[in-house]
């Protein structure tokens, strides 16, 4: 269970939050102008990277505020928390923080326990 720092309430147990999937997916201004394929992409397709992921959380059992989180999905480490109206931090900011449990690359199994 991870610990998430709500920008408004501070550090809380993950059980107080709900995840809202990928962040920075903007609802199209004029859906009618989109092709079926593009609209389908908006409704159903989200990035699913192993590694750095920009995602949304809501403090659903707390202040009910939405915010964004940068998390490494291969370790569940939270690298940054920022408010919805704040600028998306650049990927380069996190390049040196990529650390998985086994020191493995961002693509690979999470099951190594022995240091080579």
């Amino acid at each position: 269970m991870i610990l998430i720092k709500c920008p408004y309430c501070g550090e809380r147990d993950q059980s107080e939050f709900a995840n809202g999937g990928e962040a920075h997916v903007v609802r199209p201004q004029n859906p009618e102008n989109l092709s079926d394929k593009d609209w389908g992409e908006y409704v159903f397709f989200r990035n699913n990277p192993k590694g750095i992921f920009y995602e949304r959380w809501v403090h659903s059992h707390g202040c009910k505020k939405w915010f964004n989180v940068v998390r490494n999905t291969s370790t569940d480490q939270i690298l940054k928390v920022y408010k919805v109206n704040e600028k998306r931090p650049d990927l380069t900011e996190f390049e040196n923080t990529l650390r998985s449990p086994s020191g493995e690359p961002s693509v690979g199994s999470g099951n190594f326990a022995v240091k080579k």
Partner: protein, 993 residues
Amino acid sequence: MTAINNECPYISKNKITFSFDGKTFPAFEGDTVASALLRNNIRLVGRSFKYHRPRGIYTCGIEEPNALVQILSEHNEPNTRATVKRIYDGIKISSQNRWPSLKFDLGAINNILSPIFSAGFYYKTFMGPKGFWKNIYEPLIRKSAGLGKPPKNFRSKSIHQYHNTDIVIIGGGLSGLIAARKFINTKYKVLLIEQDSFLGGILKNTNKVESINDNSPSEWIKETEDLLSNSTNITVLKNTLVTTYNFTNHLVALEDKFSGKKIDLNKSELTLHKIRTSQTILSNGHIERFISFRNNDLPGVMLASSFEKYIHRYGVVPEEKPVIFTNNSSTFSLLKSIISLGCKPQAYIDSRRKDEIESEIKKFLKTNNILSYFDAEVEGCDGNKKIEKITVRQGKNYYKINSSMLCVSGGFNPDIHLFTQSKGLVKWDKQIASFKPDTSFQKTVTLGSVSGNYNFKKLCDEIDEKLSFLKTKKLNFEIKLNVSNKFSVKELWETKKKNNSNWSKTFIDLHNDVTTKDLKQAITEGFDRIEHLKRYTTNSMGTDQGKISSINSLAIVSKLLKKEISEVGTTTYRPPYAPLSFAAIAGRSTYEFYDPERKTSIHSWHLKNNAVFEDVGQWKRPWYFKAYNNETMHQAVQRESKILRESAGILDGSTLGKIEIKGRDALEFMNLMYTNAFTKMKPMTSRYALMLGEDGMIKDDGIICKINDQHFIATTTSSGAPKVLADMEEYLQTEWPHLKVYLNSITEQFSTFNISGPKTRDIMTRVFPNIDFSNEAFPFMTFKNFDYQNTKIRIMRASFTGELGYEIYISPKYGLELWKKIFSCGKAFNLIPYGTETMHLLRAEKGYIVIGQETDGTVTPIDLNYNWMIGKNKRDFIGKRSLSRPDTARDDRKQLVGLSPINKSDTIEEGQHIVEINKLPNKIKNPIKYLGHVSSSYHSPNLNQSIGLAMIKGGNNLLGQKFFVTVSGKTQNIPVEIVNPVFIDPENKRLTS
């Protein structure tokens, strides 16, 4: 024979009795099942999992693979570790996995057949002849499963205790205590957790340490314990085992509150501690490992340090004349312990060469005239249900020694289980021939033997250095030892058998009956990765997770594969560290507290008036009211429905979700959230509205009240309320932050009553004599606010039954009072209370849909012919674009229709399907084409026939046509006619007049 260590300070002299397999034995308070059995010279305590081989007590702790027993006096608790479970007077215990008795077990036939139970046995046989697997083999295999017998009915009162703390120290042994003393009276909040009932660990388990700062170990422990308990910032938990180490330093630990005591069922017997800490200090020590040799499972084989623990902790010398077999220096203290008690080892066998063995050991052996074999190993042992003879190999020579116990030490493994759970990386250390922690993934520090430091002299320095980043005191303790400070070990994992025999086995996993031969076979079959091999052989998958053997299996495998152990890697240690009680995990949030019950302010009235309740989400809603005791649900609902259409009924609708929406952009927001157009809607009117997902499918419905363009009140379904509010907040915060709108949930702020039926106006006029309820003054789908007594109420004219109806909103403080008043006024008009079932029946007669019944996440407003609810001129609303996708725009989608049986006495069943044939075959081989399903069906008391709503493919074009509806359990279908779904008052006269 067993002997007694009268010097043992830790065991009480209070005598108690316990029973094992029906016989009563004496013991002391403080004994574990194992120490009590050993005290009574009982060595055979169970039968093994697969081969039903006789098994004894192997260890003195949580790592025990063999001695699992059933606690008859505690609801038959199965698979309890005899080495951990402390007994109390009168406790009843039995052995497991044997029939008819422990001494004579018929299942031992498996041992005779054991050569064919090789790795992968089940996968390779029992496949034919056809039908035999399903009907004969498989049921037989299933029946012979398992170890202990199932427990008996039981309701635990285990509780949870959360902790938020700065430091957690796991393990109250020497390192843990030194570390804890550094934190005394510091600013840190510290939790020290010890799995045993006492602190001290190695200080109490052995005589290795002679003194600390010139105090005896027990004095030092006492001093430390006093200091810790006087320090306000440190809490000590004993009898508490940390089982789980999750991300972000979240720990789970189980405290046994009744260790050594009879459980009081009114109290909480277990506490599950759920701990969040900033820093974890692991000082949880090491575990001794065994050596594999022929018949290394015979009762009488015991780990050497465990033997020593029985002496020092429980005052039991399991055997006066044991044989010691070791590959390391640690057994010296055992030798000394045994001699000091006036006993004498029958022999000492050390696999190390003479020159590798410490001179003090050699000197001690000589002085005490102990038969010694150096550069030697135990080839195997023999005996009937216990060790009788031990065979020693020294070079090419074999020696036979008579003894009934064999103490084995194969070295020590740092107990890295929790460390790897924390996702830390381990590394092979040749010096200690084991894995030890290397890189922490979390804020974790390891101290003492868990970190691979077996050197007492270096302990204080290690602790000071590793905790130097914290603001603590520097401490130094002078630790004097009885034994050599250095630890030396020579790798030895398995000894070679003298003769090949199919029945004498060399075990690698005692719990799961896996032999070293199984490992070899698995490798020859191609399983060359340790995890893969583990799955094929079930090695280290038993209840002990291979605590004394998993490193051994890695070593054996690496030799077979001709690889380094570090290359082979370790298996994944999975939480929990030791089996963890389900009752404790569940805590109090189960049984009567499993899920909160939500009750309305009228609940007590419903109870008094014989309501039968239905669960709607967490809410308890009246389902129907019994007019008399024997009234069935069908009777009640028919009665309620009929009376309502004749006079009036009232429903407690307080559970409906209600949301207040306010702000200068409220209108725009509502137009985006709902399909309907609200712009031209007049203030103080209301409208039925639909909410879609972006996929175009109906998600929720409700009535929207418009106070003005800046202020709305929306109702939602009872179970959809939290989701609708959350979705609205989400869109406001993330998609449209520019919209100035605020939302508040007001579900709980109002008692809501739906009163409807032709007599409603009369009743309302009596309840609220000052309000004009005439059709002109108070038309359909309008609402008004009124002062009522000391509060404000809102009344809306709306109906879900198809009859004249009003909804009343009032503060819950006055709700019950008003409800009662309505009844006293309604008495003259035959007003009845009705429940959700009648509501559903009446709305079905009227052709109204219910979310989750007519809709199932695949239904659009168009499918329901609710096109009129879609704001055509709106540029956008949630889900709009999806309605024009090729599949959603099809005109032969499933559409809402009504069903009427052609034979009026037929009953249409909900959930059945509409087909084109009048009879189904007895056995359906090829799929039968169907048009759709019956989404709702009721017996309508007002039409005196069965009616149905159905979602049917292309239903709009099928009105008037005849089809068939299937009947559950029958092949004969019912002929029905597709009709308009509105069965009652299609002109809405009743609603609007």
